[in-house]
């Protein structure tokens, strides 16, 4: 079947040229699984959420922030079709210069706290939320040093988090928040700025991206598409490179358990 007549159109945000590589490979997989799928790229998550709500795409590959925003606009529960293994156990870290780690979050009061893009769940919204739960109203008690780069991409590019760790390393901030996988990637890539940093705090875990559909999506089609997604294997040599680019080793069924904190944080905001 031609992609133009695909049963499922997936919307994704083009935060990097590799998104094309990833989806071209993913489409081959869905075709092999017998669920004709196409993808449509958007430049930001706000457009993607609009597209899902308008029915321009059947499925949106959303950040957690986009998912929560979509449900708020929808006014009811959306359908979650799956997520990556790393999305199920996401956490935010706060780093300091080596030897300056704090014991309790209260010690951050009066300090400069660097945050990533303000629309990033993991690099801005959730660290403020969890620090608040632990007794620190960082927005008023700390001097926030915000790096609002790539707004609309919800932190996907990692650019704001790179600025966060540089700010801490260079002394322009005392502490900085970033996603766990981002720090692991910086360590793996031997990014110079992280070598003098240590992790002082780790947030509770929460969910990150998911494939979101409207409740009106045909049940049988949704199940077929989700089954095809789950069938994608990291042991399949045709898929490994694309899965590495997407940062997934195993797809997990979607569930709602890990979005409560972000929903609360976005309501507060």
């Amino acid at each position: 079947m031609s992609r133009a007549q695909a049963d499922v159109r997936v919307g994704a945000v083009a935060y990097h040229p590799r998104i094309v590589t990833i989806w071209e490979k993913f489409l081959e997989h869905f075709e092999r699984e017998g669920v004709c799928t196409d993808y449509i790229l958007y430049s930001n998550y706000e457009r993607l959420v609009e597209a899902v709500l308008a029915g321009d795409v059947e499925v949106g590959w959303n950040t957690n922030t986009a998912f929560v925003a979509l449900e708020q606009l929808l006014g009811s529960e959306a359908r979650i079709l799956g997520m990556r293994d790393i999305d199920a156990q996401f956490a935010t870290l706060i780093v300091t210069r080596r030897g300056e780690a704090f014991g309790e979050v209260g010690e951050l009061a009066g300090k400069r706290l660097a945050l990533g893009s303000r629309d990033s769940g993991h690099a801005a919204i959730l660290p403020l939320h969890y620090l608040g739960e632990q007794g620190l109203e960082a927005a008023s008690e700390c001097e926030l040093v915000r790096f609002d780069t790539d707004l609309g991409k919800h932190g996907d590019t990692g650019d704001s988090e790179l600025r966060v760790i540089r700010a801490v390393a260079e002394g322009a901030a005392d502490a900085g928040a970033l996603g766990e996988p981002t720090l692991a990637a910086f360590r793996g890539d031997r990014v110079p700025a992280v070598s003098g940093l240590e992790v002082a705090w780790r947030s509770p875990t929460y969910y990150h991206c998911n494939f979101t559909a409207l409740p009106s999506l045909d049940d049988a089609l949704a199940q077929r598409w989700e089954a095809a997604l789950m069938a994608m294997s990291y042991d399949d040599d045709r898929m490994r490179q694309a899965m590495d680019l997407e940062g997934v080793k195993r797809w997990l069924p979607g569930d709602r358990a890990g979005y409560g904190s972000l929903a609360a944080a976005m309501r507060e905001a």
Binding site: D85, I86, Q89, A91, L93, A101, E180, P181, L183, A184, A185, F186, R187, G188, R190, V194, S195, E198, V199, A200, W201, R202, Y234, D235, D237, R238, R240, Q241, G247, K249
Partner: protein
């Protein structure tokens, strides 16, 4: 399942700890556990996301007495490399007086009769990971390429390299009488034209050879490199004396047909056995009659290389015919096809014959010129006699050898 334990010491992620972890996890089956002890709280906090990122799972984190932290990692189900597990160590190949000879590469891996046309650059002894892009090699049959002594010839080629800028006594070529220099320049240009063809022919096959035959790649690369140096040295010799020369169209016509042959064995016969074989006699003649030490050295050094190339051609064709006697007709067909394209070529260009005659005479005096002309006639006979000997050595019977020699281009290569 028992849990292995390692001490991270001062190592951190991004600072070498991941190397220690990878080595430790390699020996643990999927589902097995590794406990990492680290004095760094930061490292303990980072280990779970590191583990997830590489397909494992941190299943517990706890402080341990002495102020350290223990993080238990369960090994995930995925192999890091999509290939069969590497087999354990084995003895390396033998050395000969400390040298690792190319021929001994095959102590580790046989020469595959047929290689996978889509295979990638997998060095001998290595295991290819699945998922690499597919190539489309066209020379995938051992018997279409091989010579039994190709590794030895490659070895010799490496050992016999020389430098056309410094190994030739260039000063000796200056100051010859103009008529001699003009003759030498014309002969050198003719040889250089032929060396171009001898470069392009193996180069045209080189990139088609399946990487499973590295000796063939090394051999062809050395062949191409040798010819590049021959182009260099004969061009330089033509230029050094300041006398101009012609790149003759009849030579081009002959060489053009050589490049038309797209069968590897056909090209080996036409270029290595017949063309370069005939050139062995030409180079000997030039060396013998060279009016200066630079020309003599250039011809002698090039001759040494051409001996290898001719040897490869004979060895390959002999093996090819022995493996499949039907190939004899195909090879003769290649020579016949070429000959039909060369009907316009009547013989060696007079400019070249004259140049060789003057070189042999060393003078424009009639008696000397007559002697020079005799020498050139004798050269042609020597070339024919030796061509037939080489063809016989390559496995052709007397009748076929004579036929092939008769078909050979009058333009020498």
């Amino acid at each position: 399942m028992s849990t292995r334990r390692i001490e991270a010491g001062e190592l951190e992620l991004g600072g070498g700890l991941e190397v220690l972890l990878a080595a430790a996890l390699e020996g643990i089956p999927a589902g097995g556990r590794l406990e990492v002890i680290t004095p760094s709280r930061s490292t303990a906090l980072e280990l779970p996301s590191w583990a997830r990122g590489v397909g494992h799972e941190a299943v517990s984190e706890r402080p341990v007495p002495g102020g350290s932290f223990a993080v238990e990692i369960e090994r995930g189900p995925f192999d890091r490399v999509l290939a069969e597990a590497l087999r354990g160590g084995r003895p390396g190949p033998p050395l000969r007086d400390g040298a690792f000879h190319t021929a001994d590469l095959r102590a580790l891996a046989d020469v595959l009769p047929e290689a996978d046309a889509a295979a990638g650059f997998t060095p001998l002894g290595a295991t290819a990971e699945r998922g690499a892009p597919a190539f489309r090699w066209t020379l995938n049959q051992r018997d279409a390429l091989w010579a039994d002594d190709v590794a030895e010839l490659t070895e010799q080629a490496s050992a016999a390299q020389w430098d056309a800028s410094r190994d030739i006594p260039w000063e000796a070529a200056r100051g010859l009488p103009d008529f001699i220099e003009r003759a030498v320049s014309q002969v050198m240009t003719f040889i250089a034209q032929n060396e171009y063809a001898a470069l392009y022919v193996p180069a045209g096959f080189l990139a088609d050879v399946n990487p499973a035959y590295p000796e063939m790649l090394m051999w062809l690369a050395s062949h191409v490199h040798d010819e590049a140096r021959h182009v260099e040295v004969f061009t330089k010799r033509s230029l050094i004396g300041g006398q101009p020369s012609y790149a003759l169209a009849s030579t081009e016509l002959s060489l053009h047909t050589l490049l038309d042959e797209r069968d590897f064995s056909g090209a080996a016969l036409l270029l290595n056995v017949l063309g370069e074989g005939t050139f062995l006699d030409l180079l000997r003649f030039v060396e013998h009659h060279a009016p200066d030490a630079a020309t003599r050295a250039a011809a002698a050094l090039a001759h040494r290389d051409e001996v290898r190339h001719v040897h490869f051609g004979i060895s390959h064709v002999r093996r090819h015919i022995a493996t499949d006697p039907d190939q004899t007709a195909a090879l003769i067909g290649a020579a016949e096809r070429r000959a039909t394209k060369l009907t316009e070529t009547s013989g060696l260009s007079p400019l070249l014959t004259e140049g060789l005659t003057v070189m042999a005479a060393g003078s424009l005096q009639p008696a000397e010129l007559a002697r020079g002309a005799t020498e050139v006639r004798e050269l042609m006979q020597t070339m024919e006699d030796n061509r037939i000997k080489r063809l016989r050595a390559a496995g052709f019977d007397g009748r076929d050898a004579q036929h092939l020699s008769d078909l050979h281009t009058p333009n020498l290569m």
